[in-house]
Amino acid sequence: MIRVENLKKQYGQQTALDIDRLTIEKGQLVGIVGNNGAGKTTLFRLLLDLIEPTQGSVFIHEKSVAGNYHWKNLTGSYLDEGFLIDFMTPEEFFYFTARLYGLPKKAVDEKLQVFSRFMSGEILEQKKYIRQFSTGNKQKVGIIAAMLVQPELLILDEPFNFLDPTSQILIKRMLKQENEARHTTMLISSHNLNHITEICTRIILLEKGKIIRDITPESGDMKEIEQYFSINAE
């Protein structure tokens, strides 16, 4: 579904990302891990055509993301608060997003019910703009808006940040269910290895912009990744 070729992003002399080749098949739930500055968010922004690659290309369904728009209808994403229109109420934001994807209001109402436990009564009918919500609840609004449109490809940057433990468990469960039921391709980044190993079918470890490990949890290489992070901490 996604093909990355010879992708490089440099800021001046500093290389933020340098990937020779990466292919992600449909239905894979991919965890991207790495320390701060490893290039996780840069990779996501390049996949979403939000920054210009210094060289190379990203292809979704064999079409380059740069200059094409077909992939946007298939993709749901939430990277940070720049993906929220903070002067809308959550309800308005959900309907607005759904309208851009051509979803009717009724379909949105039905789909929102799936998220009712995740929202824990703190998102809908609050009569507040998104900017007035806590950081955790803003994160929830962004994740829901990305998942609401039932995308073929879901990209979430640090989705577990700012969430309470119950919401972290719920979002993991929902991501796994969605992946199994609809074969949604997912790319999720996190600093927390436990979350990633729990749900992902493939883990990519980035260091200084380069892929240094590409493994599956079943392969038994998880210890190696844990070792990697603990060595870096020493």
Partner: protein, 497 residues
């Protein structure tokens, strides 16, 4: 501690982001501030003549004193509307071992550096110099100036009191203030008595009445004391923005829902309307224009037809005011959520066209509101105003949208509106000024045409405007092409906080 806080306040001012600009832009902004102050100063110089014409039987200073209460009543109303309690600066110290009394004192002292406490002096100094210093006495000049400054200080203290102690309710207070003002000015409510009282108050100030000065100082000190007490008591509530209760309609109001129902463009019109109405800076930027409309009506009555030829750039600005004022910052208004827009399948042609049609409709609406006044007061200028509104909607809006593509500065639409330089850049000045230069070819063609300068100008401007309106899809496409070329650069800049 108190002086450390003051020093921090000073550092936060001199290190503010709007000073982090190139020398050229700083000079330009300094020039704009200087010109604004110069206008106020000139108004003070011109006022004695104006008052002599309006009240020929009185000395100018007496006439001014009889209006003193109204001047400072309006000043108080403006403070209630716009002046902020600068408590946000103190917020960062609340968790530190700093006495709340020190924080309250610092907040109130800092509030005295507000521009509202000084700008009337720029106007009063030249006025009193002409009417009091020479004609009456230097002592009268200094007394009147000090007295006015103390009234301003009383207004300041009262405004802080209302905002820190009384659970500030702007709509109710402003409605009450406007109602009382309307009753007074239409003569239904004590107009004559108030003018007499105001006149005597001014004369007492001029004569240096000790009781009056003591009373003003005591009132200011009393309010300051109450304000410190109140701030200490309410600091956490006042500093916590999230405690502001809001009762918003869940799905927007009637206008928003109505706009949203329009096919194709509706979704973006709804977004635009919400952006304008739900964000402080965008809202104030947008709604400042109706204030100037009565000026146009005044012009229709008093200014002869021939004089309009020298005012066409300014009149065009008025006719396209909503669009020109808002579109000069296009597309920075959306900078905070542009990543969201860029990651969605939004047809750029439709997005830009929706924006264009939205402001074109507003300009036409404003024009149609003015038409009855034009026909009633000065029908000879109807052709000129028709030409100008079409020209504003046509080439002016086109130029702003096309050059706006290169505007990569981030704007917080909900940031404070006054003295907020976010989004101001050299590029912006060039694009706004170039609008006026587009009128030069119109004048040249009008001069060649055999209809006379003003008629020729009106026809040429109107036809040019119509051509841009009819063929808008072409220049919108050119804008989209440019938009796509600068997309990555703009997105990078929009992310810079």
């Amino acid at each position: 501690m108190f002086f450390i806080l003051l020093r921090h306040g000073w550092l936060s001012f001199v290190r503010a982001h709007y000073f982090e600009r190139s020398l050229g832009i700083k000079l330009l902004l300094g020039f704009v501030v200087f010109i604004s102050l110069w206008y106020i100063y000139m108004l003070g110089l011109a006022l004695p003549n104006l008052l002599e014409n309006l009240f020929p039987e009185e000395y100018p200073h007496e006439a001014f004193f009889s209006l003193l209460l109204f001047v400072y009543g309006s000043e108080l109303l403006a403070r209630l509307f716009f002046q902020k309690v600068p408590r946000q600066q103190a917020k960062n110290y609340l968790h530190l071992p700093v006495k709340k009394r020190s924080l309250a004192g610092y907040t109130l002292i800092r509030s005295w550096f507000s521009v509202y406490n000084f700008f009337l002096l720029v106007f009063l100094v030249p006025f009193f110099l002409q009417t009091l210093y020479g004609p009456v006495s230097p002592a009268a000049f200094w007394n009147a100036l000090l007295g006015c400054f103390l009234i301003s200080g009383l207004n300041h203290s009262l405004s802080m009191f209302i905002k820190t102690s009384t659970g500030w309710k702007p709509p109710a207070l402003i409605a009450a203030g406007l109602l009382i003002a309307a009753l007074i000015l239409t003569g239904y409510f004590l107009l004559e008595q108030l003018m007499n009282f105001s006149g005597q108050l001014g004369l007492a100030l001029m004569q240096g009445n000790g009781w009056l000065f003591s009373g003003l100082i005591m009132a200011i000190l009393l309010f300051q004391y109450v304000n410190v007490k109140s701030l200490v008591k309410n600091f956490y509530t006042l500093s916590d923005q999230s405690t502001k209760s809001s009762e918003l309609p869940l799905y927007g109001n009637f206008i928003e829902r109505l706009l949203g129902k329009v096919p194709v463009y509706g979704v973006f019109w709804e977004l635009e309307w919400k952006l304008i109405n739900r964000n402080k800076r965008a809202r104030n930027n947008f709604y400042q224009w109706p204030v100037f409309l009565p000026l146009l009506v005044y012009m229709f009555i008093y200014i002869p037809h021939q004089a309009y030829s020298s005012m066409t750039p300014m009149l065009m600005l008025f006719m396209g005011s909503y669009g020109i004022n808002h579109l000069q910052y296009a597309f920075s208004w959306e900078s905070r959520f542009f990543d969201y827009l860029a990651s969605k399948n939004i047809p750029l042609d439709i997005f830009i066209q929706a924006k264009y049609y939205f402001y074109a409709m507003l300009a036409l609406l404003q024009f149609f509101i003015l038409v009855p006044f034009i026909l009633w007061l000065n029908p000879t200028v109807l052709l000129l105003f028709t030409g100008l509104v079409l020209f504003a909607i046509g080439p002016a809006f086109c130029l702003l949208l096309y050059t706006g593509v290169g505007n990569s500065t981030r704007i917080d639409p909900n940031g404070r509106s006054f003295f907020n330089m976010e989004g101001t850049s050299g590029r912006l000045f060039i694009s706004v000024f170039s609008i006026f230069f587009t009128l030069v070819p119109v004048y040249i063609v009008a001069w060649i045409l055999p209809f006379g300068l003003m008629t020729g100008f009106s026809i040429t401007a109107g036809i040019t405007g119509l051509l841009f309106i009819v063929f808008n899809k072409r220049w919108v496409r050119a804008t989209v092409t440019r938009f796509e070329q600068t997309k990555y650069r703009n997105l990078n800049k929009y992310r810079e906080k």
